[in-house]
């Protein structure tokens, strides 16, 4: 199962990480590693684009929560882009819509 992770630096000061595929306990470590890599490179304003994600479980949510925590400790932030109801629903059920800023486009997240 492939997890696509594409980094886009065309929205300074934001780094956009586009995720494609299924995020579960098997693939979430790769997402975590990529976020660790970006933070260690000094990228502290990150937008994670979830519009290409077909499936997201609690492990994926945990990675995003951990990412937000680390970025905030560096005075940074982690915003999300998501328009898919089935993915948004997972954030709503867990109450994480109040933790993350969720936007409908990269432009809105970078605005």
């Amino acid at each position: 199962m492939d997890l696509g992770l594409d980094v886009d630096e065309n929205h300074p000061p934001f780094t956009v990480l586009s995720v494609k595929g299924e995020v579960d306990v098997y693939t979430a470590p790769r997402l975590r590693e990529k976020l660790v890599e970006l933070v260690s490179q000094g990228k502290h304003q990150i937008i994670v684009d979830l519009d290409g994600v077909d499936f997201l479980d609690s492990t994926g949510l945990g990675v995003l929560v951990g990412g937000l925590k680390r970025l905030r400790s560096h005075d940074g932030d982690l915003g999300l882009v998501c328009n898919q109801q089935r993915i948004l629903k997972v954030f709503e059920i867990t109450g994480l819509t109040k933790v993350f800023a969720i936007h409908d486009s990269i432009e809105a997240a970078a605005g």
Partner: protein, 178 residues
């Protein structure tokens, strides 16, 4: 109840995608459920399988943390990292409902003893990356029962909804059928 699927997967993370795909395909072929309910079931099955595999200690999630809070993976006595351990998934249905049981033979846990997360508005909430699976399961299916002992854990999830009516292909129906 009629048993319609019996599936056994190795207790390893890479097999969970297969389990959730098979169960959701069976559910959509047997029950008259909207797509969003099938998606809910798919996620619930995935979470239950993740917990089952974690019960064997074959997911080192606690060891895959962020570099500054990495803790050793939990060790399960007698476990061998999912090489021989299995997770069983049973699906049965009747006229009213679909039942999915996910069972492991790990050391068991008490679902009522899970730590409570701080409110989402509390900055401390960000210290909790795990523990969302069981609350998700409880929300996503109509009914859930956990049975756990030192011999293992089973999660029985129920989704109510009428069976999908089976219509024979038109060319098999006689023209004068009334």
């Amino acid at each position: 109840m009629e048993l319609i699927l019996e599936l056994e997967i190795p207790a390893r993370p890479e097999y969970i995608a297969i389990a959730r795909l098979v169960v959701s395909s069976v559910a959509s072929s047997r029950r008259n459920l909207p797509d969003d309910r099938i998606d809910d079931l798919k996620l619930a099955v995935s979470e239950a399988c993740t917990n089952a595999i974690e019960a064997y200690g074959s997911i080192a999630t606690e060891g895959m943390g962020w570099p500054d809070d990495r803790t050793p993976p939990k060790q399960v006595p007698g476990g061998n990292g999912g090489v021989t351990e299995r997770v069983r998934i049973l699906v049965a249905d009747d006229d009213e409902k679909l039942e999915i049981k996910v069972a492991d033979t790990g050391p068991g846990f008490n679902p009522d003893d899970l730590p409570t997360h701080p409110p989402v508005t509390d900055p401390e909430r960000l210290n909790f990356e795990r523990g969302l699976g069981i609350p998700l399961i409880r929300t996503l299916v109509d009914d859930v029962e956990f049975a756990s002992s030192s011999a293992g854990t089973s999660v029985l999830m129920t989704v109510y909804g009428e069976p999908l009516e089976m219509h024979p292909p038109e060319d098999l129906v006689p023209d004068d059928a009334d």
